[in-house]
Symmetry: C3
Subunit: 334 residues, 3 copies
C-alpha cells in the first residue's frame, strides 16, 4: 500500500516535471489539463497515452536500477509522458500505435539516461530532448511503415517565404487571450485554452513565479510573432509560444535566481526561442515532422551552458573588479 502511494506520487511528480516543477499536486492539475483537452476534443487516446507513457518510463528506469532519488523526482516520467501524448496526436489509432507507444516510451527513458550523461558534462539537464529525439525518430519512421499510416503527418515540402495573406492576423481581445493561454497548453501538445488555465493553476501551486513567467513568456512570444508577421494561424494556436513558455520558466525561475538581471537575460532567451521556433519550422519542412519542444531545448541549453562564466571562477578577473581595483593591471598580452 505504502509502495502504491509512493509510486503514484512519483508519477504525479513526473507529470509536474513537464513544466520543470517537482510537486504532486501540480502534476495532478497537469494531468487534469490533458484530460480536459482529451474530453473537449473527443480524443481520449492522448490522456491514455500520457498515463501509459508516464508509467512505462518510470518503470523502465526502476528496472534499469537507476538511482532511486532521481526516479522519485519523476525525472524518467515526463519525457515519456510527452512521447505518449505525441504519438496518438500524429499517428492514427491502430494496434501498432500502442506497441510503438509502449516500446517508444521505454526507449525514451533509456535516451533520458543517455542524454543526461552527455549533458551533465555541459552542466545542464536533458530537459525535453529525449522526448523530442524519440518522437522525431518514430514519426520519421512512420513514413516508411505501412502499418503506421503516416498520411496524417506533414506533408513534406520545400520551405518558401511566408506570403502577406498567411501573415495577416485578425484578432479580438478574446481571441488574443485564448492564443496566449493556448501557448501555455501547447507545451503538452494541447490545442485548448482551458487546459492552459489548469496548467497555470498547477504552476501557481508549485511556484508563483513559474506561473508568472509562463504567462509572461507566452504573452511576449505571441506579441513578437504578431509584430514580426509570422503565420497568423500558427500564432493563434499558440504554436509560436509554447517553447518560449518553457524557456521563460527555465531561465527566469528554475535555473537562475529570480532577479531583474536574470529577467532581462530570460527575456532575450524567450525572444530567441521564437526565432529558433521559426528556424526549425523551416529546417524540418522538407522531412515533414513538427518541431515539438526542440526550440525550447536549443534556446535554453545555449543560454544555460554559459552559466559557469556568469559567476566568478578561479583565476577569473571581471572588468568591474579590475575597474574597482586600486592597482590597474597591465593590458592583455598581444
Amino acid at each position: 500500500m505504502r509502495l502504491a502511494v509512493r509510486f503514484a506520487t512519483t508519477l504525479l511528480r513526473g507529470a509536474s516535471q513537464v513544466y520543470l516543477q517537482n510537486h504532486p499536486a501540480t502534476g495532478a492539475l497537469f494531468l487534469l489539463a490533458i484530460a480536459w483537452a482529451a474530453a473537449s476534443g473527443h480524443d481520449l487516446d492522448i490522456i491514455i497515452g500520457a498515463v501509459v507513457g508516464l508509467a512505462v518510463g518510470t518503470v523502465t528506469a526502476i528496472l534499469l536500477d537507476v538511482e532511486v532519488g532521481s526516479v522519485g523526482q519523476g525525472l524518467y516520467g515526463f519525457n515519456a509522458l510527452l512521447t505518449g501524448i505525441a504519438l496518438p496526436t500524429f499517428l492514427p489509432n491502430t494496434a501498432h500505435l500502442w506497441i510503438l507507444l509502449v516500446a517508444g516510451t521505454a526507449v525514451t527513458a533509456i535516451i533520458t539516461l543517455a542524454i543526461g550523461n552527455i549533458a551533465q558534462e555541459w552542466g545542464v539537464p536533458p530537459l525535453t530532448s529525449p522526448f523530442v529525439l524519440t518522437t522525431w525518430l518514430l514519426l520519421l519512421a512512420a513514413y516508411q511503415f505501412r502499418n503506421a499510416h503516416a498520411a496524417s503527418l506533414g506533408p513534406p515540402r520545400l520551405p518558401s517565404p511566408i506570403d502577406a495573406h498567411a501573415a495577416h492576423a485578425n484578432l479580438t481581445p478574446g481571441s488574443f487571450c485564448a492564443a496566449v493561454l493556448r501557448g501555455v497548453a501547447q507545451v503538452s501538445l494541447l490545442d485548448n485554452w482551458g487546459s492552459g488555465l489548469f496548467i497555470l493553476a498547477g504552476l501557481a501551486v508549485s511556484s508563483a513565479w513559474a506561473a508568472v513567467y509562463a504567462l509572461g513568456g507566452s504573452l511576449v512570444a505571441t506579441l513578437y510573432a504578431l509584430w514580426v508577421g509570422a503565420d497568423a494561424g500558427l500564432t493563434t494556436k499558440g504554436l509560436y509560444a509554447f517553447s518560449a513558455v518553457l524557456t521563460a520558466v527555465a531561465l527566469g525561475t528554475v535555473f537562475y535566481p529570480v532577479t531583474g538581471r536574470t529577467a532581462v537575460y530570460a527575456l532575450l532567451g524567450t525572444l530567441f526561442a521564437v526565432v529558433v521556433q521559426a528556424a526549425l519550422d523551416t529546417a524540418l519542412s522538407p522531412v515533414g515532422v513538427a518541431t515539438l519542444t526542440a526550440p525550447f531545448v536549443v534556446a535554453t541549453w545555449l543560454f544555460l551552458i554559459p552559466a559557469r562564466d556568469h559567476a566568478p571562477i578561479i583565476g577569473h578577473t571581471r572588468l568591474r573588479d579590475r575597474l574597482l581595483s586600486p592597482h590597474d593591471g597591465p593590458p592583455p598580452e598581444s
Copy 2:
C-alpha cells in the same frame, strides 16, 4: 619479415573489427566474403577499395604516431575499409574516384581519432561513425563535382508515406532465408547472401555468441520490417536488417555480458535500430544519400551511454536495495 607479418595481422584484425571482433582469422573470412560478392557481381573495385582503405587507414594512424596498441587491434583500419567499399559502390570508376578513395580513407583515420576523443568522454567507442561521416561528406560533395559523376546516387526527393504496393512482400522460405543472410552481409554493403555465410563463419571463429546474435538480429529485424509493412524490396535486400545485426552483436555480446537480462535490452535496441533505419531513410531522402550504418551508431550509442547507470555507482541507491533494506528510508524530498 616479422614486421610484414605483424602488419598483415593488424590488417586482418582491422577487417574483423567491422563486426566488432579482434581476430585475424575472422578478418580473413570477412575479406573472403567481400571477394565473393565482388566476384559474383563482377565488380572487383569493392575488394580493391576495401584492401586499399584498410591499409591506408592503418598506415595513416602509424604516420600520425597513434598509440601502437590500438593500431595493432585494427581500430584505425575498419572504418577506412568500409569507406573503401562505399565509394566504388556509389561512385563510378574514374581516376578521381581512386584519389578520393586514398585521401578519403586517410581522412577516415583522422576522423576516427577525433570522434574517438569525443566519444571517450561519453564512455563509448566511435563504432562506425567515422566511416559514416566521411562517406556522407564525400557522397554529398559528389553532387557538386562534375568529375565524380553523382548520377548514380539518389535521386534526392521529398519523403512520402509508403504505398500498399511497395509494402507488399511475396516471400518463399528460401527468399526469406536469403534476405536474413543478406542482412548480415549488407553491414559491409554486400548484396549477397553467400557473403553472409562467410561472415557468420568468421564470427563463429571469434565468438559463437556473436554469430548467434548477428543471425538473430537479422531475423528479428527482417520479421519486424515485414510485419510493420516496410518497403518489401528493401527488406528482401537486407537493408532493414544490417544495422540491427551490428546493434544486436554490440549490445548483446560485446559491450554487455551475455545474460538473459541483457538479451532483453539488446532485443529492444535491435528493434529500435530498425525504427532508426526507417527514420533516417526519411530524413536523408531530400539530400539523396544512403543511411550507411548510421542507424547502428545511433541506436548503439543511445543504449550504451546509460551503461554507467546500470551498475551501482557511488552514492547510488537502487529501489531493490531500499526495498530489501531493514530500515525503510524517507521518501524523496519534495
Copy 3:
C-alpha cells in the same frame, strides 16, 4: 580616455580574430577591407553591421562578467562581427533587420560562451561556429517572418548533379588571380578581390606565415575546385576557397607549429575543407541557406581534436619508439 583606447583596441583585436590573429593593426586593415567592399558595392550596411556587431558582442561579454583576459583578446567580438556582416548581406534593410542584428549579435556572444564550454572539453576553440549557428537560425527564421522578407535567400531546392555547362570554367590569368584573392575576402562574405589584398596585408602584419598559408590555401582550393569540375561561377567568386583559407591558416600556422610535417597535414585538411564545402552546399540546398564558414569549422575541428594523439601521451607507445627500442615488446593481445 584610457578606457576608450583600451575598448577600441579590444574591438580591433576582435576584428583580427576573424582570421585567427590577435593584433590591432591587423584588425584595422580587416575593417578597411570591409569598408572597401562596402564602398565598391555601394552597400554601407555591411560595414555598419560589422562595427555594430563587434561592439555589441564585446559589450555583451562585459555585461555578462566574462573573464576579462579573453574579452581583451577580442574573442567575443569576431563572431558577432561576422553575424553583423551576414544579416545585411542576406536580408533587406528594414527596421526589423537592425533589431535582429543587435539582438542577434548579443546572442552570438552568449552562444560563443556556450560552444566555448563544450568545445573546451574536446581541446579546441569554438572558431566561427557561434556565427554560423546564430546566422543559420536567423536566416532560416526569416522564411517565416513577413517583416524579414526572406525572398533574397535561397530558393530552397532539391540537389541535383552538376551539369557540364555549370562546371565549364573560362578563366584568364587575371580572372584566376582575382578568384584566388576573392577566396581570401569571402571569409568575411566580401565578393571583392581588392578586399583580399587588404586582408593579406593585415595578415602579414601579424604573421608572415599566416599570409602565406591564406594565399596558398585559396590557391590550392581554387585549383582543386577547377580540376574536379565544381560550379565555375561559385569558384570564380571564391566560394570554394574561403573555408579552405581559414583551415590552412588554422592548421598550418595557428594550432600546429609551422613544419613540413604539419604542412602536409594542413594540405590534406585544406582539400578536405573543399569537399566539406561541396557536401554542405548539397545538404543545405533543401532549406535554402548558405554554408557560411561551417566547412572551415567542421574540417578544422576534425583535424584538431586528434592533436592530443599526435604527441606522446602517458602510457603511449609509438611504433617508431618500439622499432628503435632494444627490447622488442610482445605483439598486441588477441
